[in-house]
Symmetry: C2
Subunit: 139 residues, 2 copies
């Protein structure tokens, strides 16, 4: 079960082995959210083997942002102060983006939407190069 706030805020792209892969609907910058399969809330509370699996899946998204989209910087965080369900943010950043150098949380006033084409393109790359199992949900 993915928290309703995450579902409202994000496109559901699919799954890796131990995380559900979401993409924030605000296309002003590429902002992925990975939701590990766990009842724990804080990422550093995961048993070490599971933590290593989760961070490896976060590295796939970072790789996509850098190698496939050409960004040189990725912010990484597990906060959960508002939505308690464990979720990890992997956010592409650049010195030209909408809230640089501030963190994205609470500092993004501009919004934009993804086109269906971009969602399909990114999902296709994540499937072919990063092992995403697509959702088929049409979210």
């Amino acid at each position: 079960m993915i928290h309703s706030q995450l579902l409202a805020d994000c496109h559901w792209l699919g799954r890796f082995e131990v995380c559900t892969v979401l993409l924030n609907r605000n296309a002003i910058l590429p902002w992925f959210i990975l939701v590990p399969d766990t009842e724990l809330e804080d990422v550093l509370d995961l048993p070490s083997e599971r933590l290593n699996q989760v961070t490896a899946e976060c590295q796939r998204i970072s790789g996509f942002l850098k190698q496939s989209l050409g960004y040189s910087k990725a912010n990484f965080a597990g906060l959960g102060n508002v939505v308690p369900q464990m979720h990890l943010h992997i956010v592409a950043r650049s010195s030209e983006d909408a809230c640089w150098p501030q963190p994205v949380w609470g500092n993004l006033t501009e919004t934009a939407s993804y086109t269906p084409e971009t969602l399909a393109d990114w999902t296709a790359i994540l499937v072919s190069e990063y092992g995403l199992e697509p959702s088929g949900h049409g979210h």
Copy 2:
């Protein structure tokens, strides 16, 4: 070499095996910063074995915040938008703290200072229970 801004902002408590352990001088909430030994800037760019070592050392700080200080929540992040040297934030949070539920970056207007006694007490626990090698720097 630790970035001058981190040294200005933090007490230098010592080292784990692959990270230098800093504590933000603002005592309004417990905010640790771990600086891995690397020239890379983004934590998700670390080779997986080193990433696992770094996150394991972050877990020691999270353990200190939860088991030793009694907090139930820890925020975890690697950003580096302002200070490029890789550094990981591990921040104790509670619903009564100075900027809940906002992230700490840019949202802490109150400040406080650690007493030498608290710094000595926390360092002693980190040494005896979490494997800290103390700095002996007197920062």
